[in-house]
Symmetry: C3
Subunit: 157 residues, 3 copies
């Protein structure tokens, strides 16, 4: 197992992940990722059946950065705000410097009239590395249970 300080670092990472996206602090969000990070969004049934198709796949941090820039440009035409409510992270594996943690999320999109809809629910599956006592995301897989197609991927999940 990992010590309490590192467990807290995992909790912090998950809390920051949602908070930074909700505050649209995308640079801060990118900074949660390790230099060798990957980011994938995939439907749950693809994950369960080991199917390779993804809704989004960025195999490098540069690809993720580029994709984020593209998303934010598209987003100018349809202003929405987002809110992540994320459950406590579950330690799936914890082995020295590497930790795998999952956390269920519910993600809401709110339009300009203040109408909220449940945009996506699912689970973050993070493989984390530690930089000192700080946790960073090496590989993020967003396991999507459900989503509204029309607005998919206007912003990261």
């Amino acid at each position: 197992m990992i010590d309490l300080a590192r467990r807290v670092a995992v909790q912090d990472l998950v809390a920051h992940y949602g908070g930074l996206l909700d505050r649209e602090d995308y640079q801060g969000w990118l900074d949660l990722f390790d230099a060798a990070a990957s980011y994938r969004i995939a439907p749950r049934e693809n994950i369960d059946q080991n199917l390779p198709a993804s809704l989004m796949l960025c195999e490098t941090k540069k690809a993720l950065t580029d994709r984020l820039v593209a998303m934010l440009k598209a987003n100018k035409y349809r202003p929405i705000v987002v809110r992540h409510v994320i459950g406590a992270p579950e330690l799936i594996e914890a082995d020295g410097e590497r930790v795998r943690a999952q956390a269920a999320y519910s993600l809401y999109h709110v339009d300009g009239d203040g109408h909220a809809e449940l945009y996506s629910i699912g689970c973050y599956d993070f493989r984390l590395v530690f930089v000192g006592e700080r946790a960073a995301i090496r590989d993020a897989v967003v396991i999507v249970d459900s989503f509204l197609i029309p607005t998919l991927l206007v912003k990261p999940i």
Copy 2:
């Protein structure tokens, strides 16, 4: 109060509870329960008025195991996946080896078309015991605020 290691054990238990159900790891879920465990699901108003009626009552771990097997058979006919988003556990009482903790939950059911609905919201009311530093559920009461009757109890909450 209880020490930090045991508080973390309570957080872990709650995170595992939701994660194991979401991953359909029912044996792992059963293993969260103490050998002398009970499990009850009841509407909030029955709990508030001390009415004995339950939506489900398993007074022993064997009864819970049997009920789970029955549920899973019924479930073959209506495939759904579930996702629990659970708030942080609140320590209601903490007295040496015994802890009472509550945690609000929202439970989503997702059908084969990727359509999610809020299936149930409510609160877990757990009385926990410790086995070393690990927490186990002695008595679980699932306090249900709302639910969709048609599919009730196809899976544990």
Copy 3:
């Protein structure tokens, strides 16, 4: 940064905040606030644009107490129960005796027929002080992303 015990105190505070409101323990809820506390509910866009308008503003704990009494009287005419599902608190600033923490919430209202609706989603923005190892709310800002106007402010958020 703050030590582990105080971090746990922040987590506790947030968990109690939701739990006490859900159990309608309003005195307990008021006790979470420091004697010099303020409480404000405001739409997210007002917060983002630094607009002063609020949905509710109590600049003193006495004002909050009075407002709560008024709410509870109004509430007699429309019984609802509430459930808060709150994400883990994110430490925004932590500087000695003062901590600023944010936590996303989803708040459900359930009517007498057991029908739940998402009443409000948003984020708590708490400025906390410590009394020994216990955290208390100095200034609470409830940042509301969405809400149902007709029943607004029947109960605190």
